[in-house]
Amino acid sequence: MEQVIANGLYLGAQYALIALGLTLIFALMNVLNFAHGQMYVLGGFITYTVYGQLGLPFVVALLASGMTLAVIGALMEKYLFRTVIKRSHREESTMLLAAATAFFFDAVILLIFGEKQRGVPKIVKGVFNTDGLIMPYDRIAVGALAIVFIAAFILYMQYSRPGRAMRALAQDRVAAQLMGVAVERYSMIGFAMGAMLAGIVGGLLVTITGVNSGIGGPISIKAFMMVMIGGAGVVGGAIAGGFILGMMESVGLTVLREYGDVTYLVIFAALMVFLSIRPNGLMGKPWG
């Protein structure tokens, strides 16, 4: 059972980090970024190239992933989403734009990096092993790093000037504007940060699970689920959602294995029932 909980915690930490970027973008702009998973994949491939192929230190690779994605995110906000939000009658239209950018990323990634599953050398070798609890050191390292990034993100949002501005923006766009927050500027920064988080988590996880050009879509969907569990647009919710989903998968796959192929059926059904009872997730704003 310790193993199951350890698996769940590790999974939760990485899920939470994936969900953070998505929820940030959603909170600031009400955009459900379908391309989040593709950004993660791109981050993974950049780390693969810099660390795995060019042989530069892992930290450099991780920075490269984060920075590249931040720039891409900023450009996307400025030239795509801002325009469409301004000109569209219904804000759901951004979903089509997000989906189209997801396809675009898919195509570009496939053309540049090919169709094969890619991996990099381990960042830390060896396995931690005591009485039935087994955890490779690289997983521990990645899990810890993920938690560090989450903590840094929370502190940044809480105490830095841009962080506070973004929180005001998330709470009430109009009020924030009246209070003198540069809405456009912080929307762009927020989008860039969300994309950067996706890139960083992609770079982190490529060391454990590798990367593959086609997994962006499924990762986005999983991230949506975590965000919904916790409540859309709430940082705490994304973290809670990530850990809950991680734990449910870990425990479910062990407890329900006798019954065959039902673990995910149960998880999904539970999610539907849960949301029917709590329509805004654990701690979401009413009207996502």
């Binding site: 219904r90 089509l96 396809f103 675009f104 859309a232």
Partner: protein, 328 residues
């Protein structure tokens, strides 16, 4: 539009889909277009359902679930119980509508991305159920489903046996297009009747709608049931064409595509989903020549169109009209 102009454009449309298209296909020998257009017609029926849920203010990414369900209902009835395909068609739709009432009643309380998300999960639930339930034949799918038989009423054969035809492709095309015309006619009537206004009232403000005495829960469920009915019918016909159905016949990707069709055509226009499906599905097919750059070009065009026409292709007409009146 005046009544005359309306009648004229409707008859022109009917003439194009029922006469001109088959004639052109026969003249040019491009018989592969029958299937492409059949797909467009069927997918646009399913997309029309999604459009209807947009019309009451809900983002629906769950239509794939009902298409899959409809396909299985029809396939199971035809294969296991020997029911005529023609009877299973409405039954598949009704089954989906009934299921959607049960599912929709609790989840339609959700709004925005939450509803979108739950419906997305629903698609996956449908796939997993199709894998797990014994009646669906699980992972092995249902194959060798017979083609639709003859339909006769009072001894008069209305539709001949598909299996006996030289090419069932034309027959499937006509069937799909007929269903599409019926479906969009019903939608058009719905949207332009008082019910349409009621649905719009839901989309624009549920609280106010409720305060003027509209039973919002009931109306939402009704709209969702009609939407799912469309999905089920489309799925059933697809199962008949491919003579097989698998848990993966309709997936999350399909659900997302249905939604995109609606966006692309325009959420503010009844015929948006039809045009959106035509352009997106056909567009992909036309780009077939570009090989490995297909997806790149497709997605780039989509982004560009989105930037210039964020309210859908049909908003182009409005834009031109506005520009014309400004200049005049």
């Amino acid at each position: 539009m005046t009544r005359v102009a309306k009648a004229a454009s409707i008859s022109a449309f009917l003439a194009v889909v029922f006469i001109l298209v088959p004639v052109l296909i026969i003249a040019t020998g491009r018989t592969d277009l029958y299937y492409t257009l059949t797909s467009v017609a069927l997918l646009s029926i399913a997309s029309a359902g999604v459009w209807l849920t947009f019309f009451i203010g809900r983002i629906n990414i769950g239509q794939g679930a009902y298409a899959l369900m409809g396909g299985y209902v029809s396939a199971i009835l035809v294969v296991n119980y020997g029911v005529s395909f023609w009877l299973t068609l409405p039954l598949a739709g009704l089954f989906c509508a009934a299921a959607s009432i049960l599912i929709g009643y609790p989840i339609l309380r959700l709004r925005g991305v939450y509803f979108a998300m739950v419906t997305l999960v629903l698609t996956e639930v449908a796939r997993l159920l199709a894998l797990a339930l014994p009646i669906t034949n699980g992972a092995k799918g249902m194959v060798s489903i017979p083609l639709p038989g003859a339909l006769s009423i009072f001894g008069v054969t209305i539709i001949p046996n598909f299996a006996g035809m030289q090419s069932p492709r034309l027959a499937f095309y006509l069937l799909a297009v007929t269903m599409m015309v019926l479906c969009f006619a019903a939608m058009y009537r719905l949207v332009n009747s008082r019910i349409g206004k009621l649905c719009q009232s839901l989309q624009q403000n549920e609280e106010l709608a409720s305060s003027i005495g509209v039973n919002i829960a009931y109306l939402r469920v009704i709209a969702y049931a009609i939407s799912s009915f469309f999905g089920g019918v489309a799925g059933a016909i697809f199962a008949a064409i491919s003579q097989s159905i698998y848990p993966s016949s309709f997936t999350v990707t399909d659900s997302i595509n249905f939604m995109l069709n609606c966006f692309f055509g325009g959420l503010g226009y009844v015929f948006g989903p039809m045009l959106g499906t035509l352009v997106l599905y056909f567009g992909w097919d036309l780009l077939f020549q570009t090989g490995k750059f297909q997806l790149l070009i497709y997605s780039t065009l989509m982004i560009v169109l989105m930037l210039f026409l964020p309210n859908g292709l049909l908003s182009l007409g409005d834009l031109l009209r506005k520009r014309g009146s400004n200049n005049g």
